[in-house]
Symmetry: C2
Subunit: 112 residues, 2 copies
């Protein structure tokens, strides 16, 4: 396993050490999502979510892909820290249920 320098690891843990961002990353571990889905699921303001997503984007933890008026985010599995992130996600409950609820409410964004 590739070791991560202690300073870089601290940076990543700090990034994940926030309930909102950890939830976002955990949701993205299930499937790609757009900002409005985060706003719905986390019950937070759109700018607040956007600012959290930006921090993840700045560190290349997530990637974005525009589809029409929506921007979908995904976990970047190519990122050097992805294995570390995956090992954290393994230890928290799956967010699958929340995404299924979103779909039941007809609030899943579909645009393919």
């Amino acid at each position: 396993m590739e070791k991560i320098p202690i300073e870089k690891m601290a940076t990543i843990l700090k990034l994940l050490g926030d309930k909102t961002r950890l939830t976002i990353v955990s949701l993205l571990n299930e499937r790609e999502c757009c900002v409005c889905e985060f706003v719905e699921l986390l019950d937070m303001s759109q700018p607040s979510i956007s600012q959290h997503v930006r921090k993840l984007r700045d560190k290349n933890i997530v990637t974005e892909k525009r589809k029409g008026q929506w921007i979908f985010y995904s976990l970047n599995k190519e990122n050097e820290f992805y294995p570390a992130i995956a090992s954290v996600l393994q230890q928290i409950p799956s967010q699958e249920e929340k995404l299924l609820q979103l779909e039941k409410l007809g609030k899943k964004i579909i645009c393919d």
Copy 2:
């Protein structure tokens, strides 16, 4: 594996998401240490180290044991978050070398 609620995990990651505290925990993963060893190894003031150690103690991540004038800290392997912490430590380089250097300099604290 026991799952950790997302909110608690965020709290732990935040605690570890600091270079000083992550280094302290990594050092304690090698052997028990006293505060003055952290001061020496991390080149930081004694109060600053004490304050970081306190945060780890408050969350029961480390335990203390007085030996004469020194207080030795250890990783608390009974703590519910120890497995999560161990999995993080596995992914960063061992701090063994730094502890060996300390011993070469005759600065290891021995009191048994």
